[in-house]
């Protein structure tokens, strides 16, 4: 994939992000931050590549360290978002 294709995906994704985020209701802005936090831990992909590869032991250990950090974020971020979202309820019908 050449640079221009990568850049195109990036630019398009920025536009998608712009419209999707404006449609998020302000009441859910805290869960929005928590979930974006969780998904930005997709850097774990890079961490796994470094942790899996042979060659440089330094790179492996750095990778494993990054896997731990990103995992904290992924599990913590999704779990705390789930916990928050479960609290949002509509009025009981009386």
């Amino acid at each position: 994939m050449d640079f221009i294709s990568v850049l195109s995906i990036f630019v398009m994704a920025c536009f998608v992000g712009y419209y999707v985020v404006w449609s998020v209701t302000p009441a859910l802005h805290t869960p929005l931050m928590a979930v974006t936090n969780a998904i930005s831990s997709v850097v774990i992909v890079g961490a796994l590549i470094a942790a899996a590869a042979q060659g440089s032991p330094v790179a492996r250990w750095l990778g494993l360290g990054a896997v731990v950090l990103a995992s904290i974020n992924i599990f913590g971020g999704f779990a705390v978002t789930e916990r928050m979202l479960a609290m949002y309820k509509k009025k009981d019908r009386k």
Partner: protein, 489 residues
């Protein structure tokens, strides 16, 4: 098919991991699907009804990204990797379960710092083992110049995210004073360091290890320097901004790895944080630059209109019984919560109060200002935690017209967001900030710990001294409990 990952374009990679070539288009497709699932995760948040499904999409996307990475790479030691995921997973999960909802801003800041640090570690690992990342040039010895620049950028943004978030965490968590720390000449220093980082990233085009380490060290330093002058009141903007940075760091890493999932996610998170920062700035009528420049709330000259004169102005003190009596008789009560409610952990007793009022036939509504609390949506989460139905909670624009018909405006832990000076006093530091028109309500109850303290902006508030205002001076939770007792009698 042109939609193939980076591996096919670099011949050296084909030699290293020949097994991957066959799987590669599928891997690229899987990463794309993960990216789309992340978009759907955010899309779900457009309403509380669809939000949980959205969160599940996010989890599925992450699972796909991780599994795809693991099955398309030769793994030297799977147990270590599983162990690392398990350690991180347990820490994250337990933290997420145990954290108090009022501590959510700190938690989010802490999580941002981890993303930043992880991005730095990945960047450094890629520098040590470029072969594994498929970023070697034709000779198989040097890293591609373009990849070096992308890496430098990713590491720089990651490091700034890390150290900036650590400071934001310390300020929000109370490990560090929330007041701005102003170094002399900080603007010059900060701009100089930022410019230097940019220059170094460009120079990194020519591979020199010293440059790489200089970028890392300077970026850690600038993260600290950028956040220490920013005061507690501006933390909603800072947390959003760091949210944005963590996204851009992921995107830069995605460029290095040519990974669609990372690029899409980075762009999403980057825009999300940027939009939240914009919303917060707008809600305070401040420019993003003035927030970043810092120092707000530190200037003793600000709001000097108050000064000695304000002490002498007459104000009325109310009691819990007064509040209970007047609210019981009211038709409509609008509750305006602020950060003080979070500090006092008063959200549950507040809900109990609303329930008691409803039993007396009172119509209870909640009004939330975009910058109430220490992060976007902070008050909404706390009210949701206390089981307040979200259809009783209103945004500024939706409810502001209703104060004129309201019998009672009940202000608990908020201050600047109800200050009419924002509408009338051009010299006020908060002038132009959209505020609630509480002064139009027939009666105002204002819960505050004492008359001495002021809002974060350090401005006096005319609402204290109005004829229809009764000050309820006490800890917010204690006061609401007393009101509840009086209501129950």
């Amino acid at each position: 098919m042109s939609f193939v990952g980076p591996l096919e374009t670099t011949p050296s990679m084909a030699q290293v991991m020949p097994a991957e070539l066959g799987v590669n288009p599928w891997a690229a497709l899987a990463y794309l699907i993960a990216g789309v699932l992340f978009i759907l995760a955010l899309r779900g948040l457009s309403s509380p009804a669809t939000s949980r499904r959205g969160n599940r999409f996010g989890m599925a996307g992450m699972l796909i990204a991780v599994v795809t990475t693991l099955i398309t790479h030769e793994i030297a030691g799977l147990p270590e990797i599983i162990g690392a995921i398990a350690i991180g997973g347990i820490i994250g999960f337990v933290t997420a379960r145990r954290i108090r909802m009022t501590a959510m801003p700190q938690l989010v800041a802490a999580f941002h710092s981890l993303v930043g640090l992880a991005a730095v570690l990945v960047g450094v690992a890629a520098y040590f083992n470029p072969e594994a990342f498929g970023i070697l040039d034709g000779s198989g010895l040097d890293i591609l110049a373009q990849s070096r620049i992308e890496m430098g950028l990713g590491v720089a943004i990651g490091a700034i995210t890390f150290s900036g978030s650590v400071i934001a965490f310390a300020k929000l968590n109370g490990n560090m004073s929330g007041s701005p720390i102003l170094l002399p000449g900080r603007h010059i220093i900060n701009l100089g360091v930022l410019a230097l980082i940019v220059v170094l990233v460009v120079l990194f085009h020519w591979d020199t290890p010293a440059l790489f380490w200089a970028i890392v060290v300077l970026s850690f330093a600038i993260g600290f320097l950028l956040i220490i002058p920013i005061g507690g009141a501006d933390m909603p903007v800072v947390v959003s901004m760091l949210n944005s940075y963590s996204g851009w760091a992921a995107a830069a890493m995605g460029f290095t790895l040519h990974n669609t999932a990372m690029i899409i996610t980075g762009a999403l998170v980057g825009s999300s944080g940027a939009i939240l920062s914009y919303i917060m700035c707008k809600a305070m009528n401040r420019s993003f630059l003035s927030v970043i420049a810092g120092g707000f709330g530190a200037d003793p000259g600000a709001g000097a209109g108050g000064g000695a004169a304000k002490v002498d102005r007459p104000w009325k003190r109310g009691s819990a019984e007064d509040a209970a009596f007047l609210m019981k008789e009211a038709e409509t009560v609008i509750i305006i919560p602020g950060y003080g409610m979070a500090v006092a952990q008063a959200q549950h007793v507040l809900r109990a109060m609303a329930d008691l009022l409803k039993k007396h036939g009172v119509n209870v509504k909640y009004a939330i200002h975009p910058v109430a609390g220490r992060m976007p949506g902070h008050m909404n989460v706390l009210l949701a935690e206390a089981n307040v139905p979200y259809d009783e909670v209103f945004e500024l624009d939706d409810i502001n017209g209703e104060f004129a018909q309201a019998d009672v405006a009940f202000i608990i832990g908020a201050n600047d967001v109800v200050n009419p000076a924002a509408k009338t006093d051009k010299s006020s530091p908060i002038y132009g900030m959209p505020v609630f028109d509480v002064e139009k309500a027939k009666t105002i109850f204002f819960i505050k710990r004492s008359m001495g303290g002021q809002g974060y902006a350090g401005v006096d508030n005319d609402v204290f001294y109005m004829d229809q205002t009764m000050m309820l001076l006490a800890d917010a939770k204690k006061m609401v409990e007393d009101i509840n007792k009086a209501l129950a009698d």
